[in-house]
Symmetry: C2
Subunit: 169 residues, 2 copies
């Protein structure tokens, strides 16, 4: 069983959190929510799904986790305005452990400056940002480039979840 | 008196629309709302300020306006997922007429690929995107680079409005 960090703040895309996390739990994996402030409840932008932050990003250590899920929506934009979550994501990418990125999640990978030369997909509004960051954008339902697994939007969730589960030990 | 286009969609930052537009109107200028669909009512992300779109971006002609205001919030992210508003913004920048950009507004300028070598400011979450687009980010309340006038967030609104009004004929 794996221990998966989910980095999350307000206005995440509800299904991009609920569906992978449900699949991870059903498969016997453990999930911990990393955010800006321990104990804070954050909500999705559509259904107001409540999520309580378990660990503040500034206290989180990638060594404690086997994989990282970054849901989309406007959560990545909010997280990347702060140093600690950006550092956590950068350290996680550099660890080589699996990172699951969907929709607007590449935004925090861009701020962490970890996309040069990587193959990735993401939401259509951020394609130019992905390319300007030195990554190769691919318009596919799921792109697997080493440890980096990415999808575009909620309709890709089945493929995203299959690829993510397959990457867990 | 000038005719100002405001390009806008859902979840704009309320005050970055209401305060400049009020100032423009008090100064005797005319405002037209350009969006994704004529007649659609879009709302701000905080106070649900309703704004009705007057002209669809695909029908809008920069020649009809003297300046362009791009409010921030998540409106620029939503607009830049579509070709017509990106093209309208690109044509406007290339016309040399004043463009007023605040907060997340540089996102649509990035997708329009009009920032290479320009000096600009914007919200802290998008600094890396601005730099990756080839622009020079300046952490100032207002940056004036030729026709491009930019600010960071609502607290900069007084300086942003002063510089914008000064740029109108």
């Amino acid at each position: 069983m794996s221990h998966i960090a989910v980095i999350i703040d307000e206005w995440f895309e509800d299904s991009e959190y609920t569906e992978p996390v449900e699949a991870f739990k059903v498969a016997g994996h453990q999930v911990t929510h990393v955010g800006l402030e321990k104990g804070k409840t954050v909500r999705g932008k559509k259904k107001s799904t409540p999520v309580t932050v378990d660990v503040a990003a500034e206290k989180a250590d990638p060594a404690d986790y086997d994989a990282l899920l970054i849901p989309g929506g406007y959560s990545p934009d909010k997280l990347r305005a702060h140093d600690a979550p950006v550092r956590f994501v950068r350290d996680f990418m550099e660890s080589g452990k699996p990172v699951f990125s969907i929709c607007h999640a590449p935004q925090i990978l861009i701020t962490a400056d970890v996309l040069k030369g990587r193959r990735i997909t993401g939401y259509k509004s951020i394609v130019q940002d992905i390319r300007n960051a030195g990554a190769h954008f691919e318009n596919q339902e799921v792109v697997v480039d080493g440890n980096l697994i990415s999808s575009r939007f909620p309709a890709d969730l089945p493929a995203f979840i299959r690829a993510s589960i397959a990457a867990l030990v």
